[in-house]
Symmetry: C2
Subunit: 151 residues, 2 copies
């Protein structure tokens, strides 16, 4: 955890991005790290955890992190928490909380609240556009596909 | 929306990944598209919306999508919904629902439920590891940084 926090501090010192760092560890050995690279790469999804997960998956040549653990300097935002669910490491550890992040001006706690709301009550407008017979075509194609790789 | 659905169908036919497609539109013109590339790129975060958002940001050389709209063949999972909050397009449209995705075997609805839970009640183990004086060092560095770019 000390290392994840140090990555976060250095990321700010080098002006690479936000104050966040993360590590993926397998059998006690760090196999990938990440820091927040949103502004330097023009990628709003380049949070420390996402960068670390992507890097670990490249290294292990897999899209699943079973047997791994994630260490992150701050409680993951809902994007990163959900990415953890999709990548499925065994567990994760964090130091600062979403309230600490909010106090420093980050939207994590706000987005947690938004995700839990009914779509109609959220701050970003969304609309369901149903194209009748078309909506389910992708899923029908998926279910009948013989070449699919479930994830 | 027809185009987003067609991208999703084709993505399955070409065995590139899951049955999902998305487009970012600016002033009525599509500027970027994405399909689910999780298995083909070994990237658990490569959902259609994330791929489209990243591509649009590269094209516009920005980390914010104000003035843009997103069309996606299916209601975004919490990872993609949160990515939308971080990228801040004006609004988004979707065709199929999270229940439709669940019926085809995808975890979207499950992850929505998980994100809303108290960390201790979630299916993936997580632990806060407080390093006392160290936890807030990244944020202190951020707040005092003169070179930071807020996002």
């Amino acid at each position: 955890m000390k290392q994840a926090i140090e990555l976060a501090v250095q990321n700010v010192k080098t002006a690479n991005g936000g104050p966040f760092g993360a590590l993926v560890v397998q059998d006690g050995t760090p196999i990938a790290s990440g820091t927040n690279l949103v502004t330097v790469t023009n990628d709003p999804t380049a949070h420390a955890e996402i960068v670390a997960i992507r890097s670990a998956c490249q290294r292990l040549e897999t899209f699943q992190l079973a047997g791994c653990e994630l260490y992150t300097s701050c409680e993951p935002c809902p994007m990163c928490l959900s990415a953890i669910y999709w990548a499925r490491p065994d567990r994760f550890y964090y130091a600062a909380s979403r309230a600490d992040a909010a106090a420093a001006g980050f939207d994590d706690a706000f987005i947690y609240d938004q995700v839990a709301l009914h779509p109609e009550r959220r701050a970003i407008d969304s609309h369901r556009v149903s194209l009748e017979g078309d909506d389910l075509r992708p899923f029908e194609e998926w279910i009948s596909s013989l070449r699919k790789i479930p994830y």
